[in-house]
């Protein structure tokens, strides 16, 4: 479904991604784990068109999307819930969700359906629809960010550090919901530092270190791997 071929990204003269190759198949949850500064967010930003790679290609459903602008990618079915949530804090929760469905404005019925679906996935934000989004708790904001991304009815949902700054119980809850979303047919690319939780729900995983993919395997093997255990699972 999604394929990165030798993706190289530079910030000025600093190389952030070292020619990485990854693929995500339809219906999977794939996780990318790695430490701070490994290039995880850079990869997501390059896929979603926010930065242009210096070389390499991105394919989505066998179509080259390397130079497609971000708003068209959303129309094509790729949406992300960004690092740090980046909800529109001065707008209401309802308006945030409406903006998530921005590209489908002509299809009122679909928006309605997605709206109901998001609210049933995240009943906690249902009570706060008319509240300004900035007043939500961190966990609720994360739910809103995921819900907002779902409003565009993505086929590929990319999540950048959904566990950031959340209480462990909230992380667990959100990751369970991600599994539900995946079972509803959304392919998920999950970028995480919280390797334990990410590997718990994913089928396959990549390990990114200073801009290069150093390991790639199914999650069982990654969980069993000594190097991964030492570096990312803290055992």
């Amino acid at each position: 479904m999604l394929q990165l071929e030798n993706l190289e990204v530079y910030y000025g003269s600093i190389r952030a991604l070292n020619g990485i190759n990854i693929r995500v198949e339809l219906g999977e949850i794939v996780t990318m784990i790695g430490a701070n500064g490994a290039g995880k967010s850079t990869m997501i930003r390059a896929i979603s068109g926010l930065i242009r790679p210096r070389s390499g290609k991105v394919f989505f459903e066998n179509e080259d999307i390397t130079t497609v602008p971000p708003h068209q990618l959303v129309e094509m079915g790729i949406c992300q819930s960004p690092e740090g949530r980046r909800i529109f804090a001065n707008m209401t929760v309802r308006e945030n969700l409406e903006l998530g469905g921005y590209v489908h404005h002509r299809n009122k019925r679909q928006i309605r359906e997605d709206y109901d679906r998001v609210l049933s996935l995240f009943p906690r934000i249902k009570d706060r629809l008319n509240q300004s989004a900035g007043t939500l708790s961190g966990g609720e904001q994360q739910m809103l960010a995921i819900g907002r991304a779902l409003m565009s009815r993505p086929r590929l949902l990319m999540l950048d550090e959904p566990s950031l700054g959340l209480a462990p119980i909230m992380v667990r809850q959100i990751f369970d919901i991600l599994q539900d979303i995946n079972q509803q047919g959304v392919t998920i690319l999950l970028v995480e530092q919280n390797a334990w939780q990410a590997l718990r729900i994913a089928q396959r995983g990549y390990v990114l270190e200073t801009g290069s993919v150093v390991m790639e395997n199914d999650t069982q093997s990654l969980l069993a791997d000594e190097g991964v255990k030492n570096a990312y699972l803290g055992e």
């Binding site: 926010l50 708003h71 909800i87 707008m91 991304a149």
Partner: protein, 377 residues
């Protein structure tokens, strides 16, 4: 007391004009964090469009001669208002497209052709090619043809240059570049104004009938003042509706909060930014037209400078990016100017704007209605 209310009305009228211009500043600042210094000059162009439409383009009749002319002229004045808004909106879009967008996205082939026509303009004017429409339609068409011909040739000649530059462009997110560009556009419009409109001050005579109404205790309100207030209010209400309740308005607010997050939601930010400049330009155009047609001030190519700066100050004291703030700031500026102007310190009329600015920035650095919202992590 009568004088007080009289000055207050004048101040609110002046203030609503500042507010119209300030809205354009604040909206553009909201979406791009850019102070569009060319905005005051768009207001100037609006006044000139009012002048040309009233004097040459539209069949205004002398109202003294014919009582029926009055009604007709009012209808025509509304047409002039819409025309001015339309053209200034378009000017705003062109400024954004060819001056500010290349700084964000790099140069493209379209830019070559734009600069081709832009460079052919002075040539056309140098030969008076279409300056004097009164010389006859044939000469005018001849001028247009030369303009287009030179424009196309220069445009094609520029293509390789633009390509060469675009391949070597390093886009930097520096706001300073955009700011300097804005000052450049402002200078271009002012000096282009000397070229296109000529250096002589223009003046629009009484086009619509004027009447004085006496209200409470001998306070007089003029029909033109009333028209300015009503039209400004209507435009502000329309703007409020657009920003709060339309899809584009929500996209604008999303962009002003976080442009990258807006992109991630599928918002075509360039398009929404264009619309923002169109709205800002249209409001400034309306302001310029009303000043020219309804208050009969002299119009010169530099006439947008001071109102532009004052409107900018209004936007800053209201809180840059904050729409109600711009209106509030405009009214404060107008009223303060009216009171100082009506007192024995009237020479300090223009200085009061900056005094207010300094005081408010000292007390509330984010502006009167501006807020610094802390983000939860």
């Amino acid at each position: 007391m009568r004088i007080f209310i009289q000055q207050l009305i004048f101040g609110i009228q002046l203030g609503s004009l500042y507010a119209l211009i300030a809205l354009g500043y604040t909206m553009v600042y909201g979406v791009l964090s850019l102070i569009n210094f060319a905005h005051g000059d768009v207001y100037m162009v609006g006044a000139y469009i009012g002048f040309y439409a009233c004097t040459y383009w539209l069949p205004f009749q002398r109202i003294s001669a014919d009582p029926h002319a009055a009604v007709m002229n009012i209808v025509l004045a509304v047409v002039v208002l819409l025309l001015s808004m339309l053209m200034c909106g378009a000017l705003g879009v062109v400024i954004e497209r060819f001056a500010y967008r290349p700084l964000r996205n790099g140069l493209g082939i379209t830019d070559a052709h734009f600069w081709g026509f832009a460079l052919s303009l002075p040539v056309a004017f140098h030969f008076h090619l279409f300056h004097k429409v009164s010389d006859g339609a044939g000469r005018f068409l001849f001028g247009i043809m030369w303009f287009l011909l030179i424009g196309v040739i220069v445009g094609y000649a520029l293509r390789p240059v633009i390509r060469w530059i675009s391949l070597r462009t390093v886009l930097s997110p520096s706001r300073l570049n955009a700011l300097i560009t804005a000052i450049g556009v402002s200078l271009l419009l002012e000096n282009g104004g000397w070229l296109v409109f000529g250096p002589n001050p223009e003046f629009i005579g009484t086009m619509v009938p004027e009447k004085n109404f006496k209200i409470l205790g001998g306070v007089i309100i003029n029909s033109s003042q009333l028209a300015i207030l009503v039209i400004s209010l209507i435009l502000m209400l329309i703007l409020r509706h657009i920003v709060l309740h339309t899809r584009t308005g929500k996209a604008m607010r999303a962009i002003s909060h976080d442009i990258e997050a807006a992109k991630m939601m599928g918002i075509n930010t360039d398009k929404v930014i264009s619309v923002t400049f169109a709205i800002g330009g249209a409001l400034a155009g309306a302001g310029g037209m009303m000043v020219g047609v309804l208050t009969h001030v002299q119009i010169t190519p530099l006439f947008g400078l001071l109102p532009g700066i004052k409107a900018f100050v209004a936007a800053v004291i209201g809180g840059p990016g904050n729409i109600p703030g711009a209106v509030l700031g405009g009214i404060i500026m107008g009223v303060a100017e009216a009171f100082v102007g009506g007192s024995s310190f009237s020479t300090y009329r223009d200085a009061i704007a900056f005094t207010i600015l300094i005081i408010i920035l000292l007390v509330r650095p984010a502006g009167l209605l501006g807020r610094n919202v802390a983000e939860k992590v």
